[in-house]
């Protein structure tokens, strides 16, 4: 199990950093994205999460944890529950 914590605004400016964060660690069963300190998330961030989903093993589990209600709403509108575990 491994945790990636995102702080502040989750947007296009994190594109390379976010990719770097998971590309070195691709043999875990459970990945936790800690979003409890994310204030804002845009559609580019959704794209980055999808890109991560594609990059790691299909049978690995990605959990999006601690999102505030505004962000949870964005995740649900785009039905990210189909690819991620939203907690």
């Amino acid at each position: 199990m491994v945790t990636i914590t995102i702080v502040g605004s989750f947007d296009f400016s994190l594109f390379n950093d976010f990719r770097e964060a998971y590309s070195e660690i691709n043999n875990y069963k459970i990945y936790i994205i800690d979003m409890s300190m994310v204030e804002y998330l845009d559609s580019a961030a959704l794209g980055m999460l999808l890109s991560m989903r594609n990059a790691i093993n299909a049978d690995s589990n990605i959990q999006l944890k601690g999102a505030n209600s505004f962000i949870k709403n964005i995740l649900m509108i785009s039905r990210f529950d189909k690819r991620f575990e939203i907690q």
């Binding site: 559609s43 999808l50 890109s51 509108i77 039905r79 690819r83």
Partner: protein
């Protein structure tokens, strides 16, 4: 690194040259005002040392002249002089000096100061280079945004013109984000609507828009079913967009009698303002277009009905996330209130003007961050 040494005394020219050469600096030494100006232009030094008293002119005038000749380039000017009173020193800096060392000077001190100035020059050069590169990229991105705007504006010209049955509002943000709205009446009288929101900004966001437009207008001509069009758009976008890009959207077909079938993915609720001021919603219950492979894509549709004097309003998230001067988002509740008020108006065109004004007023002086798209439709059936 090049240093120009201006000094009328041979002994100082030799000491300064020797010190500088030990720091791997190329030195040119001159003894008078005129040669100093000439060498500054020909030799193009990075650093200058000079005295207050020089043959053929004054050091104050010289420093002023050399500073003006260096233009945008930062060339540190170091005074080395035996006239080390406070008033002389003050005058040196007023005329443009960057440093002041009294003569006779300590060689160690001079070397340290020289190294400091060399570091400054290198930093300035580096900053200049980076600034130039950034300016270049910024200009390029601005051009890309303009181009993306043009591409999308061109696409929208094929869409239906505003009328009492359809109105489309698009307010572009400074940083364009790829909203697309298409409306066209099919040969059988039914109206096909696509409101989409591409991820990303600038040119990449508009790449998907061209094939979407072609598929949309072909579907209008061929009376293609909405679920088939949804599958087709998904397949096209899945194959051309990278995995971090997609398009949220509604595909809506409305018959002349107001029967609605629709597919929605990744979009906020759309509103139906009933004639009695009740608000109903269309809900998008799928993942956006361009994410799921063909075998996983779900094309099931939902239904609703638009009766006479009802209004269907589809907004992009740019409307919900519109911020006022206090940095507060408009939000779903306030949008619902605005819709409820504005679309009480009998004329759809006037209603749309009202809501546009309300949105502009809400925004006030704050910067619009996102594109705003607002499409409103009414039943084409004649009033009974």
């Amino acid at each position: 690194m090049k240093l120009l040494c201006v000094d009328s005394e041979l002994v100082y020219r030799e000491i300064i040259s020797l010190c500088a050469k030990n720091e791997n600096v190329i030195v040119k030494a001159v003894d008078c005002y005129e040669d100093a100006i000439k060498s500054f232009i020909d030799f193009a030094p990075d650093i200058v040392t000079l005295d207050v008293i020089i043959k053929g002119g004054s050091g104050f005038d010289l420093v002023k002249k050399l500073k003006s000749l260096s233009g945008n380039r930062f060339v540190p000017m170091i005074f080395l002089t035996s006239h080390a009173t406070d008033s002389v020193m003050d005058k040196c800096f007023k005329y443009g000096a960057d440093d002041f060392i009294p003569k006779p000077f300590n060689e160690v001190l001079f070397n340290i100061r020289l190294k400091t100035h060399i570091r400054h020059v290198e930093l300035m050069k580096e900053m200049y280079r980076k600034n130039k590169a950034l300016t270049y990229y910024q200009t390029m991105i601005e051009r890309e945004h303009d181009m993306a705007h043009n591409v999308l504006d061109h696409i929208q010209t094929r869409s239906e013109k505003n009328s009492e049955h359809v109105v489309i509002t698009r307010l572009s943000a400074a940083s364009f984000n790829g909203d697309l709205a298409l409306v066209k009446t099919r040969p059988d009288g039914a109206r096909l609507v696509f409101v989409g929101d591409f991820t990303g900004h600038g040119l990449p966001a508009s790449i998907g828009a061209l094939p979407v437009m072609h598929a949309f207008f072909d579907a209008v001509d061929d009376l293609l079913d909405v679920n088939q069009l949804a599958s087709q758009l998904n397949r096209i976008l899945f194959s051309i967009l990278p995995d971090y890009m997609f398009c949220a959207g509604y595909l809506i077909l409305m018959t002349p009698h107001g029967d609605i079938t629709y597919w929605g993915g990744g979009m906020p609720h759309a509103f139906i303002r009933r004639a009695n001021n009740k608000i109903d919603y269309l809900q998008s219950n799928h993942m956006p277009l361009g994410i799921l492979p063909v075998d996983e894509f779900e094309a099931d549709l939902q239904c609703n009905t638009l009766n006479n004097s009802d209004t269907l309003i589809i907004v992009s998230d740019g409307v919900l996330e519109l911020k006022n001067c206090q940095d507060e988002m408009l939000g779903c509740d306030q949008v619902r209130t605005l819709i409820s008020e504005c679309y009480a108006e009998k004329s759809l065109v006037l209603a749309q003007e009202k809501i546009e004004k309300k949105l502009t007023d809400y925004r006030g002086e704050s910067v619009q961050l996102d594109d705003i798209t607002l499409v409103a439709l009414r039943n084409a059936c004649p009033q009974q």
